[in-house]
């Protein structure tokens, strides 16, 4: 396996020509959505946002 180029222009962009959104972007989006939902759930179940616990 070759290393990805440190600069996209070095390799002439030949391997980056696929149109459309790659699958990993959807996977990333789902992971971020899960994290955001988890974050919101943590705050809701934990008695609200941290500011509620402040004096």
């Amino acid at each position: 396996m070759t290393d990805p180029p440190s600069d996209p222009t070095r390799q002439g962009d030949t391997d980056d020509d696929t149109d459309g959104t790659p699958r990993w972007v959807y996977a990333f989006g789902i992971l971020i959505a899960v994290l955001v939902l988890g974050f919101v759930a943590l705050h809701l179940m934990g008695g609200g946002f941290p500011a509620h616990d402040l004096p």
Binding site: F28, P50, L54
Partner: protein, 174 residues
Amino acid sequence: MTRGVRRFALTAHVLASVGWFGAVAVFLGLAVAGLTSPDAQLVRAAYLAMEVTGWAVIVPLAVASLLTGLISSLGTAWGLVRHWWVVAKLLITVPSTILLLVHMPPISFVASVAAATTLSSADHAQLRIQFVAQAAAALLVLLMATTLSVYKPRGRTRWGRRQRDQQRALSRPP
């Protein structure tokens, strides 16, 4: 940007980002110690150290990582919104930095309580559990950002494809 400036910005970005990850790992260790330790002195020390680590190390490194990342992307052919992996990193770094700034005051609050009194395991337990969960989540997203930087998964955004097509049309012989 010249090659030297580009490399300097990249070096600063790598240092800030990896430093941010390391500092959050320390923060997580302190948050777990503060939550679980039966030793009152250790609990107090942990929350005081968390406040100092947060304000003096994590916040500056997060801001530095964001700024050097912006400079590195805008100053090179990668661009800010041309490649999905750069966009993904931006979507990780900007909210993480904002959330960090939002969650620092509660840490300062618990540190001030720990400095003034002896914290029992029930005192502000929900907040202290949140510190652990948030630090663990932060480590996860920073790990994702580091992985994206190293692997640079392929894929251009619509904007990136349009720019590429325009460049190709210009460079094509008539």
